[in-house]
Symmetry: C2
Subunit: 450 residues, 2 copies
């Protein structure tokens, strides 16, 4: 594969010198999935030219489907409503849905009006499924078999359709009422004797999910049982569609991004090449929340201003207590959030996890606190100062462990995202308890510190 | 599916009351992938009993393959060397390798000696591949076709082998020198006319990876091109094995865990139910590093002790400056680390990302700093204090943005893990610059602050 950087440079030169035919040939050789990084380096005019070529090559639909969301606004600007409708009509329903939702609101209805009636209705139906549910990522095209067929008849029926999409990894056996009866992995169909009946080959009561199932849980199911696709049924068992492994991979990647982002207080749309203006708008609200908690922590310090006036050296160790507590809390938070995401922990085992994390925090606090106390004693020459630092670090670290475990578990129990907002709660909680413990104990022992 | 909590309770009761037959029937109905959470709730004696049953049911190999690594030591304790060798010999090479590496060192050689010669040699060979490379996750069993066969002959040859593993999603066309010539998706084979030749059906020059390729890059390739498996070749094109999508999903999940863990300074083996003693041992070194950086930041504060003595109120705002800078830096770090992991950023576009993040930090610093300045003025009644807070927050946030972007990019350029250690560098860097800016400017303007 050629380096994308080189390709971009060549493409720009060909475009600017008007050698369209050669640019088109170059473009033909680029995989749709590789066009994203390339487009992000082009000017709006160049993007327009490339999109034109893609339409001439009838590759616009497959390409737009693969583009990272932050590039779509620019691409939409370069495309007429007619062409957009044409692109949408060529996509499978899950991709159609995703692209349709990215169309600017003022153009949405116009583009919809240009879609063929049947697809417009299907899209309307799909739009009714809740975000992040199975209905949003399933495709409605799959091969349905009758259990009375033989293996050979089944293979012939697939041949009659010709090579279709990825969803043909499993074949689904349904009855007259479209109830899902079984599933036949295509490899099993091929390996079976030609006259064997589908009923004998099929896997009975296959793993399936309902249309309202949470995408993350579907992904965990697929990962756990090494599936290649999952059938999606209505609440009463009617076969509606299939979620394929490529969509599952997208879900897994997105959920991991979401967890990392939420722990840091970021919004998912804030990607590396999102325009700065947009990133600022997305991050500001979270930073304002942070400012409030920072001032809350500061007010704890302010409460002990008299103590600080008498022993200024205490100010030096404030960042140590808070920093260590924050780090310990974030470690616990990361372990627990990840365990929740991977389905490794239930609320019942959560108590055990909380106790463990508290014990870990307590022990680490004792070891690190001892060292910190020694350092503080050597530096400031007062053993009492070391003692205060030691005790407050043990308290802060144990509390940070407890908080880091209990906040995401509580959010999960309340059916909220365990990662969202827990970072700020844990770090500011650790800060406040740290300041309170350190300055509080120092105030009690003030006579020994002055 | 029954709830795992209920199942555990029933299983324990059956085991303790000695109703082995019923316990065995219950166990038979549990999917290997569901046994992990169940075993983690049992006592060592109960685990021993369950493992015995699994051996009787000839399901020990498939089960052990699925167990989370933190459970393996306990399970190994309950199994003789002979049985362990028996389990290993039934696994595909990638699973065998993973399990073999978890065997305690003192038993490793004894177990190896009990393996059949051929498998021992294969395992030895696999052990030579670098960690996290393609060689470590590939399986060596795949179906190789000759390009002169017809579609029907190919299907017959698969029937002759019978249903095998997952690797049969694609069939690989190799020549006499075992060079990879092409690939035939099984769905394309089934859909093709029976007399069509494999040469006509196959995809030429398929995407493949070499044995030393990085697992994360292989995963990005599979995700980007929606592959179901990827062939692995030697440096000179000889077909060696296949990486299937279920292993890719494991790689994606593990890489995401690794990134989240490394950002928080955690080791991958430190999971939610890892014994506390082990978690403490894993986290302590990182906490000691943190203690050093915390004391480094504290020494910056210590350098300004005279200033603090004169204006104790400054101590109150230290956590605000440091906390906001740290949060901003971690946000940038998360965006950049994730972009690197997903292959969305190259070093060339890295400069652009750095400039963007600095601009974002600067702007957010200005907005939030203005607010902080206002609050500080209202609280402490000194406009100069607000001014110092504003300027130092702008400086700190811009610096944190620059640091959050440049540290992971620099680590990546040095072929290091971009997430590992970058968290501590960014937060402690932001702390130090924050303290230096805030207390430095305060010292310059001291006359106006007193």
């Amino acid at each position: 594969m050629a380096s994308p950087v080189v390709t971009t440079r060549i493409l720009r030169r060909l475009l600017s010198s008007g050698v369209t035919a050669r640019a088109e040939r170059l473009l033909e050789r680029i995989h749709p999935a590789d066009l994203g990084p390339l487009l992000s380096d082009l000017t709006p005019d160049e993007i327009r030219a490339v999109i034109d070529m893609l339409f001439r090559q009838r590759r616009a639909a497959t390409t737009l489907r693969e583009l990272p969301p932050e590039l779509l606004p620019q691409v939409f600007d370069a495309v007429t409503d007619e062409r957009l409708a044409q692109v949408l009509s060529r996509l499978e329903i899950d991709d159609m849905l995703e692209l349709a939702e990215a169309i600017p609101e003022e153009r949405h209805d116009d583009v919809m009006a240009l879609l063929p009636e049947e697809q417009r209705l299907e899209l309307r139906k799909a739009e009714l499924y809740e975000p992040d549910t199975a209905g949003r990522v399933m495709t409605t095209s799959f091969v349905a078999l009758d259990e009375k067929m033989t293996a050979e008849e089944a293979i012939d029926s697939i041949r009659a359709v010709g090579e279709t999409s990825d969803s043909i990894l499993y074949l689904y056996v349904v009855d007259e009422a479209r109830q899902l009866r079984g599933v036949v992995p295509i490899r099993r169909l091929v390996a079976a004797p030609p006259d064997r009946s589908i009923r004998e080959i099929m896997i009975d009561s296959p793993i399936s999910v309902t249309i309202a199932a949470d995408q993350e849980e579907v992904a965990n199911l697929v990962a756990r049982y090494d599936l290649l696709a999952v059938p999606v049924t209505s609440e009463d068992g009617e076969m509606l569609g299939v979620i394929t492994i490529d969509d599952i991979i997208d879900v897994i990647t997105e959920e991991a991004t979401e967890d990392m982002y939420h722990l840091a207080g970021l919004s998912e749309e804030d990607r590396v090449f999102t325009p700065a203006r947009q990133s600022i708008r997305k991050r500001l609200p979270w930073m304002l929340v942070n400012l409030c908690t920072a001032f809350a922590a500061a007010s704890v310090v302010g409460f002990f201003e008299r103590t600080l006036e008498q022993v200024v050296a205490l100010a030096i160790f404030l960042p140590v207590v808070a920093g260590m507590g924050g780090n310990g809390g974030v470690q616990t938070l990361t372990v627990i959030t990840r365990a929740i995401a991977l389905g490794e922990i239930e609320f019942s085992s959560g108590i055990r996890a909380m106790l463990k994390e508290m014990a870990v925090g307590l022990t680490i606090g004792a070891v690190v606190g001892m060292l910190a106390a020694g350092l503080a004693y050597v530096w400031q020459g007062n053993p009492w100062l070391g003692g205060v630092l030691f005790v407050s670090m043990v308290i802060t670290m144990a509390f940070a462990g407890l908080l880091g475990a209990s906040v995401p578990l509580a959010l999960k129990a309340l059916k909220q995202d365990p990662a969202l907002g827990s970072g700020v709660i844990v770090t500011s909680g650790a800060d406040m308890v740290g300041f309170l413990a350190f300055l509080g104990i120092a105030t009690l022992l003030l006579d020994n510190l002055v």
